[in-house]
């Protein structure tokens, strides 16, 4: 089961689109688990939220074994810089565990036109599938059309697909089958 928790306001129609596509991608029941308050003390000096700290401090949601929780926020995220600098952060997941986080700050503006709303929803769904994929032990994929391809990659198309490639899909299905529940 995938539970989607919002830390800021999100349109219910967008949330419904998201849960539908998460179900389609992983074949797992997906439901919105309501809104929770943003934890305090996770904002950095530059106004961005530390993704690692946020995921650690995020309010708990009642789950069963193998349930995955996806938090959605509108705040821009940051992660600690690595040996070559700080990678751009669209979301963050505890690899192979049960908590992931996605931000809408880097997504294309939602706007009001049908096309812009559709683009926003599709990109949000793509990033959500990417984050939940990490929870099912999926690594970044070399295929630019796969949802597991890094979000900042230059080979990512302008409107990326919100599907997994055959390899990642098979791997996630295998992991889900082996899960306890």
């Amino acid at each position: 089961m995938i539970r989607v928790v919002t830390l800021d306001d999100l349109d219910p129609a967008d949330l419904a689109f998201l849960t539908r596509n998460l179900y389609r991608a992983f074949g797992l029941g997906t439901e919105a688990a309501g809104r929770k308050p943003m934890p305090r003390g996770v904002e950095g000096k530059d106004g961005r939220v530390d993704a690692v700290a946020l995921l650690r401090e995020a309010p708990a949601v009642r789950t069963f074994a193998d349930d995955k929780v996806l938090y959605i926020t509108t705040a821009p995220l940051s992660i600690p810089p690595g040996p070559l600098g700080e990678p751009p952060c669209w979301g963050f997941a505890e690899y192979g565990k049960n908590r992931a986080l996605v931000s809408t700050a880097r997504l294309p503006g939602r706007g009001t036109s049908e096309a812009s709303v559709e683009a926003f929803r599709r990109r949000l769904a793509r990033e959500a599938i990417h984050a939940v994929g990490h929870l099912w032990d999926l690594h970044h994929c070399v295929d630019g059309r796969c949802a597991m391809h890094p979000s900042w990659s230059p080979s990512l198309p302008a409107s990326p697909e919100m599907d997994l490639c055959a390899f990642c899909r098979e791997k996630s299905e295998r992991k889900i089958r082996l899960a306890k529940t």
Binding site: G82, H134, D143, W152
Partner: protein
Amino acid sequence: MRGPPPRHPDEPREQLPPVEGFISDAVELIPGVRVVYPNQGVCAVVGIEEKDISGQKLQLVRMRREEDGAAVLVPRNKVPAIGLRRVATGGQIQGVFHYLAAQFDDPELDWKIRHRDNADRLIAGGVLGLAEVVKGLHSLSRLRPLPAKEREQYDNARHLLVHEVAVALGVSAGLAEDYIDYALMPPVGVKFDVPPPPAPVMLPSRPRHRRPAAEEEGDLGDLGLGDLGIDLDLVEGAEKPEVAEEVAEEGVEGVEAAKAPEGEAEGEAEPPAEEVADEAPEKARAARTKPVKKAAPAKARKPAKKADKAVEKPSPKEKPSKKAVAKAAPKRGGKKK
């Protein structure tokens, strides 16, 4: 200890210096120490225990794979042979990132060589070997889609690299993967000013899988008849010399011998004659030691002469004769019927 296990028992294994951090003695495996098990990942040493297996008392090093908690037991005396190594140091990790961020590296296009080399790097290449596999296959994936096997190999290499980098940097695996991919495929407009990457991992030379045709044909004579006490010379109808001639006619070595001066041809032809002598039973060999040594050059000259002819003129007469032999065989069979 660094190279992969020899693929062919006859080939000597090339000795290369072990990878940095290689653990050559089980004494270093103190409980709590983190080590990298090739192709398995980072493990924490739990302790040393003694087990009775098939009546033998074995000292086993118990380790726990950090990724999933799986138990790994290794006989203590086999620790040097496994290729265990310490977790990569800060310097090594810097080298890995410099390597990943380096400019496009021409991938090996021959899939056989590539797959084999990558398998070797995963086992014996250390953390830089993992990075090389990831970088190489990633570069290739930009040219064409990876085959299923290599896609799997890429995923395995990435998995091992992510976990080792995570342990070495003390961050979560998710962060480590972001760092790796940031170096591997930087966003538009980002360029890294990094020092030149470290030298690539040295792999031991590979034995040839296929032996030369002449060598393989030479083995046809070794049918184990000597062990059975059968001497082809004593058996009626045995066509031992003809077999040798045909081999020389068709074999590459026969032609080369024809081109070479006579002395060299003799020198090259001698070993097969000695091999034939070795096949005979020991008693017969003892009796015929001298004649065989004298006869050896004579046997070797025959093919050389025939090979001369083959080089000078294409022998049209020989072909019909072979056909005639081939045709004669069914006739015999017909009579028997």
